[in-house]
Symmetry: C2
Subunit: 450 residues, 2 copies
Amino acid sequence: MNFGFVTKDNMSLLTDLYELTMAQVYFKKGMNKNAIFDFYIRPAKNRSYFINAGLEQLVYYLLNIRFTEGHIQYLRSTGLFEEDFLSYLKNFRFTGNLYAVEEGEVIFPNEPVVQVEAPIIEAQIIETFVINTLQHPILVATKAMRAYSVARGTVLVDFGLRRAHGTDAGMKAARASYIGGFAGTSNVLAGKEYGIPVFGTMAHSFILAYRDEVEAFKDFTSVYPENSVLLVDTYDTIQGVYNAVKAIRELGLKHFKGIRIDSGDILTLSKKAREILDREGFNDAIIIVSGGINEYKIKQLLDAGAPVDGWGVGTELVVSADLPYLDCAYKLVEYDGRPVMKFSTKKKTLPYKKQIYRIEKNGILEKDIITVYNEEVKGGIPLLKQVIKNGELVTELPSLGQIRQKAINSFQKLPDELKSIEKTIQFLPEVSPEIVRTMEELERQYRGGR
Amino acid sequence: MNFGFVTKDNMSLLTDLYELTMAQVYFKKGMNKNAIFDFYIRPAKNRSYFINAGLEQLVYYLLNIRFTEGHIQYLRSTGLFEEDFLSYLKNFRFTGNLYAVEEGEVIFPNEPVVQVEAPIIEAQIIETFVINTLQHPILVATKAMRAYSVARGTVLVDFGLRRAHGTDAGMKAARASYIGGFAGTSNVLAGKEYGIPVFGTMAHSFILAYRDEVEAFKDFTSVYPENSVLLVDTYDTIQGVYNAVKAIRELGLKHFKGIRIDSGDILTLSKKAREILDREGFNDAIIIVSGGINEYKIKQLLDAGAPVDGWGVGTELVVSADLPYLDCAYKLVEYDGRPVMKFSTKKKTLPYKKQIYRIEKNGILEKDIITVYNEEVKGGIPLLKQVIKNGELVTELPSLGQIRQKAINSFQKLPDELKSIEKTIQFLPEVSPEIVRTMEELERQYRGGR
């Protein structure tokens, strides 16, 4: 029996086989010059912007990737690798450079959010993990920020662990949604590992285990007098609100934290619940709503005046239901000082080691420009910063709280039309004349030489 | 810096906070009688059947869940737990029973695929992990079987690791797609951990790193003469096919494994490529297609006569793109011998500890019937089998190969109309009269007592 956990000790094999077979060919042919790879997102039909996330996990991987004797044995057993290459892997380290946009920063399609510069064997072997590590956090941080952007100060909590795609997705979703403006998560391990605030209410099963809803509410509140959010929709939501009030009264309490509604017509139910709570003197009891919540429903309900104080956002957040994958890539753009590009249909890459400059005007983002890395753009803020140099960490990584603040600030600098959750604008970076010239030249060379 | 890996050592905290707060209330109130929880799927608009998967990982969890001193310390730091309950957690073991449908079996909505019977504190604490562990494997095994069902014997390989939602999803997708009829995966770690065959070709970056496509093909093939699938679409696909032929000729080889096409008009390109390969005497060179492949495209291309021998299926498989989450639940159905149910809108649960009987006729699945566990159905095959008894494994778990065969056999027994990938039929199990009567009685009691 084997769960198949991925850990620091085996993450180096969490890669596509071809990364290792290509590496062996490079190794055998003595072809290991400096390569530059870009990670970037392609345009998505329903996202105007993205929130960068996942960098800390990528850095962890690059600093710690090792091939152990057990890995080597398995690779040997495939019959695809020779001893000289396996010996090379035994001493494998990532010795290259990593340039990246900070976590939390707003990013756009086609921008080289992460740029790896290393001997090509190293830069190639890490490909699969790079994409795996960045894609899901970017999806979730972006989805979270969309909810945050319409939440008008109401509290958002990640309730998605159970519906995340496996254990790691649950962890990444908690971290990424916190970056995207959420207040916390229900995921206890994410609380422990990342220091994210943890939240929880109660389940329907708790109510069902009792013969009586009032008794269930009383028992829970007697253990958590300050911290009980009573789930009122197991049988009948409005009766549930009355039962909550009754339970609190019978316990002799003047206050309680609030109620949660997980089903039904939320607008009507939340208004009625608010009325009852206010009328009964529990003006400070909050109303939490969960159950199929997403940014569209939050906006619709708040626009309609639903008196909701907080949201448990689960499934649709953690799987990014309306965009469950990013069209993203990690592509070679320079080898041995030579700019390269791929010409296949609609999937052209931008050659060269590059920089992204952000131009702001009166505190509002005006445009991004992608240049060759040593070009200068007056007044432009360079977004790519060196994080790893020759295999060593050369910057202090920000705390999760700092990243979250960066995301909120960065979002606030967006022009209003980009902030909409309904309309999508393809806000693509400009490409510097030097890159355009090189692309034309490479295409000419290729078409000519064919 | 912290990746946040989930492992055997910390998986017990990968849970929603409320599982632990509810557990503390039960503990404080001395309420820990026998509970039955069902895990089941609710109907999905675009799936007629599902393939069960993920059970081995769930069993692993139940046998190994422990709370360590480090966990206890963190829980103490939240201020939500008292010492007597924390001491209880220190000695926590899952001591209950697990009844489950075998992995690989075809399953339908509303069926209690997994049934947990344990003191309620134990049965409650495991909730989040149960759902997290089962949902994604079922999604992917089902999506894989849909592809398998239209692949007409062509080979399917999981290429999705990079686009999976994190590390664990990449592992689960490799395992679940193999269960669903795939031949293997590109994921090396899944090959090592689960013994799944691993496959790989080459990347565009490999071609780009060379100045010349023919040279790239020659170098790769000289290292892997038996095992080179040459990627031909970096610049121009048809020219790429000619270049592959040229490379093989220049190496003096009579055979090579094949080519891969990753973009463009696959029908036209694969036909032209087949023509060229045949004309040049490479009739045994195979054509692999990848890039945005799903079951719909496989069917369409094969229907149109595309001469494709194998498919790299990535993103849409591993995120189950057209159904990125299951509406599924883990619900209390019996407590202390008393059947219970939830009445909230459209989300009724079936009370009681249950059994699922499958009725077949001439080797074809006719219907499933859900009964109370000790009812008998003549000629029905009971699907729920006891896997864990009093916290101990009591069956031998099947090998992954056996599970895969079970899935293929089980799929083949479906009536033809359920096999369609285009039309969806809601094929729901019958519910035995005893359960219906109980539901009516519970609803009457509740409405009466209100």
